[in-house]
Amino acid sequence: MKQGKLFYYIPYGLWIALFVIAPVVLIVYQSFFNIAGHFTLSNYATYFHSGVYLKMTFNSVWYAFLITAITLLISYPTAYLLNQLKHKQLWLLLIILPTWINLLLKTYAFIGLLSRSGSVDSFLTFIGIGPKQLLFTDASFLFVATYIEIPFMILPIYNAIAELSPSYVNASRDLGASGWQTFSRVIFPLTLDGVKSGVQSVFIPSLSLFMITRLIGGNRVITLGTAIEQHFLVTQNWGMGSTIGVILIVAMVITMLLTGERKKKGRTRHAK
């Protein structure tokens, strides 16, 4: 009986050991070695003393924040609207569908759309506005990143709203709350958990976006993700790359703590 149970832990245990614990340990270990292979704390010193890395970190956080904010602004009303529709599962599926397509493919599609001879530019020329530089701008980077992240924000919010009992809304209206008061006092607080998980699943990956910054942003925006990639593949400074990796992991943990479920004694919250 006991052994049978143990058996079920094997896949999970292997997974955790090989793909979670080992990489984290290796990254932390690597971050204490300089490019010559000597044990040192200089990587951390460099990170905190050179303005370049701090600026990069600020950039990453700032862009991740912008992406998350824009995504949230679009996703919440969308998720709310979807819940009012008749065939809501179908409409939701249409939004989820693009996530099944490879990220790189979608990014390349945007290069085609936004490039000098792309469809969008042709259209702008046609209506007399263009041609304009669309690709390799901050705006296009934010646009594409937001596009990619939106389904991951909509889904948890949609679920939270779907689980919200309509009698809460009725009760609020009944007790004299206007539409806006009902939203701000009842609907939004009760769906906050959905928003939090949406923010987690958008903000954290956005911190280390590097492919979109490169392909769409044209490396004008250098984030920590780009830095890691450069250190590992170009400068071969694994120590510095790992250090930034550690910083990213710490940032993720902080985000998780900030957006995590507040533990209030005896309070049950709806499941996500």
Partner: protein, 366 residues
């Protein structure tokens, strides 16, 4: 006569093809305890939702204090609801839930505190204001829901089967409390239930509903003693309903015999249904009985024996007796003329009331 506060004029409600309410007319007076009673799906909750403003009537006028309120949104109506699932906000504690309607308007912090504590005192929950909603029992949640609904001092309180989730003992207790609360506040309560005992115990007026129509309106005693038709007689309490015909005024024939009764105003030989409540039947000897019955079953119910049996013409009878008998025995069943209530087929409530007027006035012994 008290002031009419709510009036329904020919209210029809349709969901697609189905008519949920088929032309409802009634008046609700200020300060009384009303109950909408009917089986599930009869439209009683829909009426409540129309009064509260959660749904619109497809046709007809909803009047509140003499004004048409069909287009007034729920938050502008001086009506509050106690929901079946209480709908207490899980992200607020007891105090904040009760204070919610007050915080929406410009009420000072100090006033809010006094009024919330007063409301909690009214429902006997003083000292619970800092509890979280899921830390209190179902019965206490029920009280919080009531406190939240009355803190705004509405003109009408709507209660949507609020006791259905409570256990038997608590439900009985809450029946007393709700009744007492209604009398203390002096506001109109409209209570929705499918439980006839609840309706009889608490109400000033009961509206018996079935299939989107109000079948009978009246005080609990009226409805119990003089049900208008088979459905009402069967739904309100237990009944023996047998077929017969009217021989003449005050003389009805059923189960092969003619009996004196106190009903009149039907056509001679009109087919009718006769209702006799189980507690009005007495077991006696065959010689003394109005009818002779063979006992089929006997159940001990604590306060009484529930005895069923059948007479010579095949009618079955249910009797509540404090005396025991034997299964298989031949016994006499005794009842007085006053115990018999005669119902016509397909009589409307207006005709029923009018007919009762014609002969009840002249009788001095009733």
């Amino acid at each position: 006569m008290a002031k009419t506060i709510i009036e329904f004029k020919d209210i029809v409600k349709r969901y697609g093809e189905t008519e949920v309410l088929k032309g409802i007319n009634f008046q609700i007076e200020q300060g009384k305890f009303y109950t909408l009673l009917g089986p599930s799906g009869c439209g009683k909750t829909t009426i409540l939702r129309i009064i509260a403003g959660f749904t619109d009537a497809s046709e007809g006028d909803v009047m509140f204090d003499g004004k048409r309120i069909n287009n007034v949104p729920a938050n502008k109506r001086k009506v509050n609801t106690v929901f079946q699932d209480y709908a207490l906000f899980p992200h607020m504690n007891v105090f904040d839930n009760v204070a919610f309607p007050l915080t929406l308007r410009k009420v000072s912090k100090k006033d809010i505190r006094t009024r919330v504590l007063d409301a909690l005192k009214m429902v006997q929950l003083s000292g619970y204001e800092d509890r979280e909603i899921n830390e209190i029992s179902g019965g206490q949640q029920q009280r919080v829901a009531i406190a939240r609904a009355i803190v705004n001092e509405p003109d009408v309180l709507l209660l949507d089967e609020p006791l259905s989730a409570l256990d038997m003992k608590l439900r009985k207790e809450m029946q007393y409390e709700l009744r007492a609360l209604q009398q203390r506040l002096g506001i109109t309560f409209i209570f929705v239930t499918h439980d006839q005992e609840e309706a009889l115990a608490m109400s000033d007026e009961i509206f018996v509903m079935n299939a989107g129509q109000v079948l009978q309106t009246g005080s609990p005693v009226d409805i119990y003693d003089e049900p208008i038709n088979h459905f009402v007689a069967d739904f309100i309490g237990e009944s023996n309903i047998v077929r017969g015909h009217m021989v003449a005024d005050y003389l009805v024939s059923f189960a092969g015999h003619e009996f004196k009764c106190v009903d009149a105003g039907m056509r001679p030989n009109e087919p009718v249904e006769v209702v006799i409540r189980p507690e009005d039947l007495d077991i006696t000897t065959v010689a003394k009985g109005s009818l002779t019955m063979t006992v089929d079953t006997q159940l001990f119910r604590g306060v009484f024996f529930e005895i069923t049996g059948h007479d010579d013409t095949g009618n079955s009878w249910r009797i509540r007796s404090i005396h025991r008998t034997e299964v298989g025995a031949q016994v006499g069943v005794f009842f007085d003329p006053e115990d018999i209530h005669v119902m016509r087929f397909n009589e409307s409530e207006e005709d029923f009331d009018a007919r009762l007027e014609t002969y009840e006035g002249e009788e001095s012994d009733r």
